[in-house]
Amino acid sequence: MDIPDNLRYATSHEWATEPEDGVVTIGISDYAQDQLGDVVYVELPEVGRDVRAGDAVAVVESVKTASDIYAPVNGSVEAVNEALVDAPERINESPYGEGWLFRLRVRDPNELGELLDAAAYRQAATEEA
């Protein structure tokens, strides 16, 4: 399982970067994309939408499943990865890079501290597997 150290994680398998100019990037972990199988479609949130931590804001679909993606922190949607519309497989091929899902402008950067660090997430994911 690839779990980069520089990211924070939710138990629901989303990852988040540290804020850059108040904006964090969010995607799903390598473990999550492996569990889902080949991604066929992504439903992304509207830019500008206000979200609260725990809101289901996106959906990632494989042939046989549809998984809700939850906002790990409060914020507003700053950008979405439009490239995924035509190339959803990027989530499988590069879950931490080109497969990013959306960006949130966060109100309180401290909320990220409530997420798991890489070691804690590795443990949680291993237990689930």
Binding site: V40, Y41, E43, E61, S62, V63, K64, T65, A66, D68
Partner: protein, 447 residues
């Protein structure tokens, strides 16, 4: 006992294998108070008795005689080759095609159905069918609500009253307001108050049989950011401008007239065809084309993540089944008739309906609304529509769908003709109307 294969020996062997003494013992875990209640059912009939019983019941129905009934279902020509092919037992006794390797028959036929409905309506993507036209309209409204996030729906009174009733039932549960746009001179005027509407719904031909300006209504809807939903008679599309051309976002309707017997109202099927942009909102099953591991073309249920078995509470609809077999009848029938045959049926229906009105005018009658119509029109009557229908039935003619008071036309019935109506049938109806005291004077019959 019919259909149950086991002999006493079979039952014994099975019980031994399982390790219980009796079939009843298999139900021991169930609370005893629930088991084997007295149920009052008629005694079992063997096949001979059964068919005799059913024939006696059927003898109490009347199906003979000229038929001018419309209002959403019609008697049309269905060639013998249609049921012979569609009702092959492999199609009748198949399940939903979840294992595509052994279901290419149903899957390919459905792909061909989707293609034909797309061609007829001029829109991009058809689903694999729904229960009927009325629920298809309701689901189209729900689609528009999801897509636009608005909470009102505008529907013309020209849409079939039963369809509007179903629409209200479905939307009321989600607290979506439905506003009815009244007709003016039998047609839908450009609606006001469209700004908050998720969609505008109109029917072509409308319930009175009259032709609407669908393009104008589409424009009005789009100008206010609403979707335009066209509820259409699919056979009329053999000659009429298709919804995709006049700007509909969604085309829905009932498919009975494309090749299914009427069967007292069902089963028929509903169809829904949408613009590509609305694909992800489409409810119901979808068949897609792909390749198999050897590179052969193959068909498969696809985009299933929209549906209930995957999305559960967040599915686009709770719909599980489609009306596969009746949609297949239509698929075979459309291919049996071809574009030329369908055109002939549509033209023949228009011709006979207009001939009927000509003869009625010659006998001194007038349509309740005098406007261009397809193959159905409203006729003002002296007595309430139901009474007229019964009087005609007593004279061996099935005609006169009563028109509701909501249309403000007083006593009136709908009269409809298809290519199966002969000139002689028309005279029979005229005579029957005259005999029922619904026509003034006695016009000479010009043969």
């Amino acid at each position: 006992m019919p259909y149950l294969p086991h002999s006493a020996d079979d039952v014994r062997r099975a019980l031994e294998t399982i390790g219980v003494d009796s079939i009843d013992a298999l139900f021991d875990e169930l609370p005893s108070t629930l088991r084997n209640p007295d149920i009052d059912l008629p005694p079992a009939m063997d096949e001979t008795t059964l068919m005799g019983h059913l024939r006696a019941l059927a003898a109490k129905d009347v199906t003979a005689g000229p038929n001018f009934l419309g209002g959403g279902m019609r008697r049309h020509f269905i060639p013998a080759v249609t049921p012979a092919l569609a009702l092959q037992s492999e199609f009748v006794t198949a399940y939903t095609p979840y294992q595509p390797e052994v279901a290419q028959g149903v899957l390919q036929a459905t792909f061909e159905f989707q293609t034909m409905m797309s061609e007829l309506t001029g829109l991009d993507v058809a689903n694999a069918s729904m229960y009927d036209g009325a629920t298809a309209v309701a689901e189209a409204a729900l689609l528009a609500v999801r897509q636009t996030r608005r909470e009102t729906v505008l529907v013309s009174r020209g849409v079939h009253p039963e369809t509007r009733d179903v629409l209200a039932t479905y939307l009321e549960a989600l607290e979506i307001a439905v506003h009815t746009v009244d007709l003016e001179a039998g047609r839908t005027p450009p609606p006001g108050a469209v700004e908050d509407a998720a969609c505008v719904i109109a029917q072509q031909p409308n319930h009175l049989g009259l032709l609407e300006d669908m393009g104008g209504l589409a424009e009005a809807a789009h100008a206010a950011g609403a979707l335009f939903v066209a509820a259409v008679d699919p056979l009329s599309l053999a000659v009429l401008k298709p919804p995709g051309v006049y700007g509909a976002d969604v085309a829905v309707g009932d498919g009975q007239v494309l090749g299914n017997p009427m069967a007292f109202g069902g089963p028929s099927f509903g169809f829904m065809v949408v613009r590509t942009a609305l694909l992800r909102q489409l409810p119901g099953r979808l068949v897609g084309q792909t390749t198999d591991v050897d590179g052969k073309r193959a068909f498969v249920l696809t985009l299933q993540a929209r549906e209930q078995h995957i999305r559960r509470s967040k599915a686009k609809s709770n719909i599980c089944s489609n009306h596969q077999l009746t949609a297949l009848m239509a698929t075979v029938n459309m291919a049996a008739l071809g574009p030329e045959g369908l055109r002939e049926m549509a033209v023949g229906s228009v011709r006979q309906a207009h001939r009927l009105l000509e003869r009625l005018r010659a006998a001194g009658a007038k349509p309740a609304v005098d406007a261009p119509f397809f193959n159905e029109f409203p006729l003002a009557t002296r007595r309430p529509g139901g009474e007229v229908r019964s009087a005609l039935a007593a004279r061996g003619v099935q005609a006169g769908v009563p028109l509701g008071a909501e249309y403000g036309l007083g006593n009136a019935v709908l009269l409809c003709a298809t290519e199966l109506v002969t000139d002689r049938d028309i005279e029979t109806l005229i005579d029957a109307l005259r005999g029922s005291a619904e026509l003034d004077g006695v016009a000479a019959h010009h043969g």
